[in-house]
Symmetry: C3
């Protein structure tokens, strides 16, 4: 049954192009622990299709009585997730922007509001939306490689994180660190992220999944109902904030993103990414 | 006179079984500093009787013009307070649960809202309600013994801390530490508690009361009225939150605690405690 | 044009005694960086005249398209700013207190709400209102000299910081540090202030302006519009809090400050300052 954290009446965004191959999901029924592995080359970007699959996957696990927790990681080397897919925000119709943004909201509402124990095993770079996925979990373990960085770097691209990315960030690192990091669009190396409290723990790459399983076992030692009520108590106000302003937030995003100046910035950024390859 | 922090119109819970032997109160009239020593063997658990005596004691000090500050500590070895008395929550009537919970609220409103300088001298274990008492003071000094632990460990018992325990905790350690620690029901060793900011200072056991007196003197060097207005400014919203939802919170507690599944958990926990002895 | 952070409809306080010699303002048009140097001997106290000049200076820079950021520092040795000018609060008329307090609010609304990048280069002591100026900037660099201290020490003088000083402080250092530091009226040495997060960085005195310029360049590397929207998102609720209660806050200040007991404290404090010289 949906946990107490699931905001009621959240229908899934209509899913036209459903596929089931961007995220590998495995459930170990003996432990009750599922693993979701992002596998959408080259960089696990959060496209409409990916987000839809992610939300459906989270819903299925949430409704599966055999599942009590989920470890989220990447099946690709060096990248956790590159964040929102910029091609979904560039040169498309207002209808498309609306559908896309609703899918981003949906994913966050399901993940931040999940009654499952959620552990992010961050095995690569995790900018912008990738960072949001990690921030929305109960616990964050990151590979100690200083080449991997994490942060809400939207301002560097000339765009901005919405209020609920900010709320999630403030809940993890506090107001001051969030203010500075969000304005600068900082990408923090793993050691820096650990110092700021943005991730809870650093481990050598080869120990990551073992550590994630150990942390999960620790959280699952707590009776589910007591842990879930407590999680709701901590997160409900933040979730309600978006639920109450969801349509307004979509309107705000679609208006902002369709501005010619913003479209131009995004096109230039995509050109730069293409040249890099 | 009641300080500016005392929410108006808070009559004491009716006190049927008043006694005066669970807490030793001494006031040094020359310094204006009172000491409250919890002395209710075996573990200073917060029974209805204890809470009533505690609230009355706080009210008397508050109304005594000779008193400007209070140091709260334990007269028993190895334990500060074991928290709410589980026998008050187990196998009793709804009327009893109501009376008990009102007394818990009362104690917190008086302590967190006290206009006196309040210093916790934590000389032993301080789980759950014991931790709340410490969190509600202005300053926390703990014996550095790593065998002594402190935390809001309710979830470990299958129950949950109410919102105002959480609010008090968040005010001290911030949102992230509170979210993790409350969900896991963590008991932190003294050094860990210090690292998290849950206590302000660690000292060797034999220096505890001397240090508490020195800290008290530092706080009393500030003009009372300026300090009290500032304390009100920092704590009023948190106090008002409970004052505005007090009956609702009682209803919520009594409904939750009287559930058969919760009663069963508590009975099992009490059996375990008995066997331990 | 006024940036998005400027609360609409904030007319400048009527400026009777305008002068232009308490703050030196220089704008480097090539970099877009202005420097404001406080030069009001002996201690850069925030008099009505100083505050008016400061607000006008901030407004001019805000409206100057060539300006993108401002570094705030002192032209005097050993002092950044001593805070609100006590002589403005002592032995004057209610009309004067009203005008003075409105000017304090005005300055903070303009500085905390500035859409420019604001960097405080703190080259000396910075108590009370001086600390508020620093807290209201985007970034704080302080000379590492442990003889320089910073903090909201109002309670030591028997007065109290208003709620918006407190809100600004909590946003920087968090609830717990603010509660303790405000009640005690603590002045923190530079190293302590750095440890608490009250300042972001310490540097040797001779490196201060160079460092401030480097930090400014880092912030200016972010597209203005994205940075400004993000800054608004972080600060709007705190600004709105004062805007909504501005007249109430003036009333509260003027009533408090005109009390005979407070006037007496302030007179004694001024006597003490005079004797020190």
């Amino acid at each position: 049954p949906p946990g107490p954290l699931q905001p009621p009446g959240l229908p899934l965004a209509p899913c036209r192009s459903f596929s089931n191959n961007k995220i590998q999901v495995e459930l170990d029924e003996s432990s009750g622990v599922a693993t979701m592995k992002f596998k959408s080359p080259p960089v696990n970007s959060l496209s409409l299709e990916f987000l839809t699959e992610f939300s459906i996957g989270l819903e299925k696990l949430q409704n599966n009585r055999a599942c009590r927790g989920v470890i989220i990681t990447s099946a690709l080397p060096k990248i956790f997730s590159s964040g929102l897919d910029i091609s979904e925000m560039c040169g498309k119709s207002m209808e498309h922007y609306t559908e896309f943004w609703r899918a981003v909201q949906e994913m966050w509402l399901r993940l931040y509001g999940s009654s499952l124990v959620t552990v992010a095993a961050i095995n690569g770079a995790s900018p912008a939306g990738g960072c949001l996925v990690a921030l929305s979990c109960d616990y964050r373990i990151m590979v100690e490689n200083p080449k991997f960085s994490i942060g809400l770097n939207e301002t560097q691209l000339g765009i901005t994180a919405p209020f609920w990315f900010k709320d999630t960030f403030v809940n993890v690192v506090g107001h001051r660190t969030a203010e500075r990091s969000l304005q600068l669009g900082s990408l923090h190396t793993a050691p820096e992220a650990h110092r700021l409290g943005l991730v809870d723990e650093l481990v050598p790459e080869e120990k990551l999944m073992e550590k994630a399983a150990a942390v999960m076992a620790q959280w699952l030692a707590i009776p589910d109902h007591a842990r879930q009520i407590t999680k709701t108590m901590m997160r409900k106000a933040t979730l309600d904030h978006l639920v109450a302003h969801r349509e307004e937030d979509i309107k705000h995003f679609t208006t902002f993103i369709s501005k010619e100046s913003i479209q131009k910035s995004l096109r230039m950024y995509m050109e730069m990414l293409k040249k890099r390859k």
